[in-house]
Symmetry: C2
Subunit: 167 residues, 2 copies
Amino acid sequence: MSTIENNLVEGNKAYAASFTKGDLALPPSQKYTVLTCMDARIDPSAAFGIPLGAAHVIRNAGASARDAFRSLVISQQLLGTTEVLLVKHTGCGMLTFDNDTARGLVKKNKGEVAAKEVEDLDFLAFPELEEKVQEDVQWLKSKAVEEGVRVTGWIYEVETGRVRKVV
Amino acid sequence: MSTIENNLVEGNKAYAASFTKGDLALPPSQKYTVLTCMDARIDPSAAFGIPLGAAHVIRNAGASARDAFRSLVISQQLLGTTEVLLVKHTGCGMLTFDNDTARGLVKKNKGEVAAKEVEDLDFLAFPELEEKVQEDVQWLKSKAVEEGVRVTGWIYEVETGRVRKVV
């Protein structure tokens, strides 16, 4: 077992020892979804005040709405959520590269076969944060399948721990 | 502002008031990635013992490796992580439907235009949990771009709060 695996096993032992929430229902009790970035500096439950069982939490590189579309449709159409909080953040890695850079790095570090695997992959990086929050919210609102779903856009500051509303 | 938005704002105020981790680096300090489900009953930081800043956390419906591919490549190739803990869970919603059911529901509840938006969408549901953990881990390991990345598969029990290793 690796050190990382061992941390999971030990951390989980402590969690399970005082676990009392084994009877929560499958659908989120507060019927909402948080979409945020995979960034290691974000702890959504703590930073966004989400009680266990209350909300779906979707996370991907950059909190991309397009990348999260499948999960959002499932959250809303199959599990009854009606509101999305889309939270991007300051200092996001997605502000620092583009498709050419990413594909070039893969080719250089992993070789031709790996490069082939990502040649059609859109890494969905973006050059401007606030603009991208607005654009993602608009994109979601433009979908017929999202009709009736409330969508708002936010920025989390990794430097201060604060969120602010953009749209 | 909705009740949900208000919860975010109030929960975040309390979090930010005692926030002291504003100087964490962008790349995860422990160089690993947790891929798990968006399910509301999972709190990865607490249940999997992840310190703030230590690991990327990717979450989507069903903890799908295929759906997370873009984020995994970014995590590894651009931000230097070298290990993935893939954690699916008992009682997952993805065990309860298939593409036809999902598309039928969208058509019935949201109409023809919405149905058109999801007609080519693979919802990536799966009928058997343990098998799917193994299959996802194998799929990741088969990718050239994942060469040298350690990938293990786990199941989290929402009834007990415990994780166990599958592969």
